[in-house]
Structures are given as structure tokens and as C-alpha cells.
Amino acid sequence: MNGNWDWSAVADFMPRFWDGVLLTLQVLALGSLLSFSLGLVWAFGLRSASRFVRWPVNVVTEFIRNTPLLVQLFFLFFVLPEWGVQFSALTTGTVAIGLHYSTYTAQVYKAGIDAVPVGQWEAATALSLPAHRTWFAVILPQAIRRIVPALGNYVVSMLKDTPLLAGISVLEMLQQARLESASTFQYTEPLTVVGVAFILIAYPASLLLRALERRLVR
């Protein structure tokens, strides 16, 4: 590489790049959705009155949280098929990232739920509210208000982890840049474009989160 910046290489990369952006955002959206919903299920499990629920959920989530995402990706993509379970690289990647981050969001939900004053539970009991109304009308709306910023931070984190999916050849931004470079032998332009793209998505997202935090957590 001679260090000369070649705008035509940037232009050539654009079609692939936009495909990569779309796929990255798709993984991010579906992964977030999965991590938010599964995380809530874990959080209920972690707060269960029965230790036969609490204990296994704790073991599973700690295991997933404390092993690297890349190892989990490889395991799901290369090892599961040996047992006859096979999904596309994209599905595997989305599930892996959503599952991995659900163990973080579970802790966030749990902290948010624990922070709701005990008096709210007592008032719900005093009014004989059924358990599902207590959760969905009283406790969770208050908990989620407090934790939106923390959940948002994990979305930004997740965005920055999507390049790991290149490891199982999902055609997200980084993988598109690698394919482009492999055919043109120009590494600088595609990789730079991808790097800039991450900052252009992640930084405004962080600003948005901060604004949201000011609005919600008063």
C-alpha cells in the first residue's frame, strides 16, 4: 500500500457497502429485540420465588455472559450442525448476538425492578391487583423508565460487536469490506469507510440516548 487515497475505490465499494449497512442494521434491530425480550424472561427467572428456577437461570446467564461472543458464534455455527441443528449464518449470528446481550439486559432489568420502591408492591397488594397487572401496569413501566439509557448503551455496544459476525461470513459491513479488498487489493478505502460508518451511526445514537436519559430519568 502506498498511502495514496483513491476516491474511485471508495465509489466502487459503495454498492457492497450499502448492502453491508442494511444487514448490520438488520442484525442490530433483530438482535436488540431478542435481547430485550429474552432479557426480561431471564430477569423474571432471576427474581423467581423458587430456587429451582432462580438457580438454573443464574447458571445459564452467567455462563453465556462470561464466555466470549466469538466462541459462542463459532459454536452455534460450526458445532451445532454436527448435532443436526443448522441455520443460516445470518440467523445464527443474529440469535448469538441477541442471546449474548440478553444476559446483560437481564441484569439491567433486574436492577431496574429492584429499584422500584417496595411501597409500590405493597400498594398493588393492598389493591388486590393481580400479579400480571402489578408487573405490567405498575412495576415495569417505572423500572423501564430508569433503564432505557442502560439498555441503549448495550445497543451501541451490540452495534460495535456486529463485525464479529464476519467470522462466520455474515455479509455485514466489515465482511463486505474484506470481500472488496480481497478482489481489489485496496484495503485502505473500504476499511476506512466502514470505520467512519460505525462512528456515524454510533455517535448520534449515543447523543440520542443522552437526550432520552434527560427526558426519562428526572
Binding site: P117, E122, T125, A126, L127, L129, P130, R133
Partner: protein, 261 residues
């Protein structure tokens, strides 16, 4: 509900003229005995005030009745139905519906408007239509002098206003028993009178049974049919307010009243 018939009658049914009955109830926190073999009963429609030094177990009695905690020993009956030892979650729920509670810290739901705070339980628990529940809520808000604050959020109200909403919220369930747990203790002094006036009004105009823990002795004297003086988890003296405040028998009662009056 048809299931009610299936609940077996308690072995030792409380006398029908007693709405609440405690028999030999003991409650401990660790080594600390808060209620010590407590026996007392309350007749329907009576207003009973529990007085005594802090830590003497008054609030615990209300929390036991509201099923927020369980006693270690003894039995509690409400309306002839056995609350403790529990005969299953189903009966607990049935009994709980007849009891309302107002808390020291109001405990309104901050994510709901004043109106929703009051309509939520009648709609979800009693099965009222939204319109019926809102009508009931508006009537109650008028009663507590907040008819114009339906759409406010609790945080936009003063402590006294929040507590009056909490009273309306408890009454919206039309409970037989209203438990009042130091409802003015968290309020600024100038807001206390408004809340107490509302409660005096309710005591005078309804036949609801009240169990009231308070340090407002004038209020206790005004509304009570009976006053129970607590010390160290026991009722050491009880009687009509004229007797307890005018001519207490027990030395501890005289000391306590001397300190607070």
C-alpha cells in the same frame, strides 16, 4: 363466586359480631418479638385507634391484616374467614378484597394519572366498566376535595393532596375495613389538617370499619370508638377515648400520653 361455597368453614368460627379477631398472635423479626401473644377483636363499623410508643407493634397489626407479612403464631380471622394460618392463596385474595390500606408514604403509582390510580383496581379486580369506575373515582375525588385534579400526575401534587388521592384510591374498592398507617406522619404540618378533615368526614358519614395507627391524639379522640394502648407488643389498656385520654389506669399509658400531649 361459586368457589366461595367450597371454602370450608373455620373450625372455630369467630363470633359473627366480630369483623376482625386476633387470637394469640405472635410476630417476630429475628430475635425481636414485635407482637407478643396478642388478642383483640373489632366489631363492624367501629373506629379503633392504636396508640403507643414507636416499635410497639401497631403498624405490624395493619401489615398482617393487609397480608404484607405473616405471623409466626396465632390465628387471625376477618369476617369469620381465617386469614392466618393461611388456607391458600385463593382465600387470601378473597379476604384481601375487603380490606383497604392508606400508607404513610402514600405509595401512589407515579406512572399513572390521579384518575387511573383510582380506577385501575376497580376495573381490574372488581370488574367495573371504565365509565362506572371513572364516575366512582370522580365522586371520591370530589369527596376529598380534588375533583379538579383528575388528570394530574401524583408528582404534581403536594403531599397532602397525594394522601387524599390515596384515601380515595382505597375507598374506590368499597372495602369493609380501612387501615390507616400513620397517614399524616410524612406530611408538612400545614397539610395535616386537610387530610384529617377528610378522614373525620369519612368516619362520620360511612359505616366503614377503621383501624388507625396515629400520633394525632386529638384526631384519635374525635373519631375513635375504642382506643388500644400498646406497649412491647401487647395491648396494655383499652377503652373508649374518654377513658383512655381522660382517666388512664395504666402507668405506661399516663407516661406515654404525658409525653405526646
Amino acid at each position: 363466586m361459586s368457589a366461595e361455597n367450597a371454602i370450608p368453614a373455620p373450625e372455630n368460627p369467630a363470633a359473627t359480631d366480630e369483623l376482625i379477631r386476633f387470637d394469640n398472635v405472635t410476630k417476630r423479626f429475628g430475635k425481636n418479638t414485635v407482637l407478643d401473644n396478642l388478642c383483640f377483636s373489632v366489631k363492624p363499623g367501629k373506629h379503633v385507634t392504636l396508640i403507643g410508643p414507636s416499635g410497639s407493634g401497631k403498624t405490624t397489626i395493619l401489615r398482617l391484616l393487609m397480608t404484607l407479612m405473616k405471623p409466626e403464631e396465632g390465628t387471625i380471622h376477618v369476617n369469620g374467614q381465617q386469614l392466618y394460618p393461611t388456607q391458600g392463596e385463593k382465600q387470601l385474595r378473597e379476604i384481601r378484597k375487603n380490606i383497604g390500606m392508606v400508607f404513610q408514604q402514600f405509595n401512589l403509582f407515579p406512572n399513572m394519572t390521579v384518575l387511573r390510580n383510582i380506577t385501575e383496581a376497580p376495573v381490574r379486580v372488581l370488574g367495573l366498566s371504565k365509565d362506572e369506575a371513572e364516575q366512582r373515582a370522580r365522586d371520591l375525588l370530589d369527596l376529598v376535595g380534588l375533583g379538579d385534579r383528575c388528570d394530574a400526575k401524583p408528582t404534581q401534587l403536594s403531599g397532602g393532596q397525594q394522601q387524599r388521592v390515596a384515601i380515595a384510591r382505597a375507598l374506590a374498592m368499597r372495602p369493609q375495613v380501612l387501615l390507616l398507617d400513620e397517614v399524616t406522619s410524612a406530611l408538612d404540618p400545614e397539610l395535616v389538617a386537610g387530610v384529617l378533615d377528610v378522614l373525620r368526614d369519612i368516619a362520620r358519614t360511612t359505616d366503614i370499619t377503621m383501624l388507625c395507627v396515629t400520633h394525632e391524639m386529638n384526631f384519635a379522640r374525635d373519631i375513635s370508638d375504642d382506643v388500644l394502648m400498646f406497649d412491647s407488643g401487647r395491648v396494655i389498656e383499652s377503652g373508649p377515648p374518654e377513658k383512655i385520654f381522660g382517666d388512664p389506669e395504666h402507668e405506661r399509658t399516663r407516661e406515654f400520653l404525658g409525653a405526646v400531649l
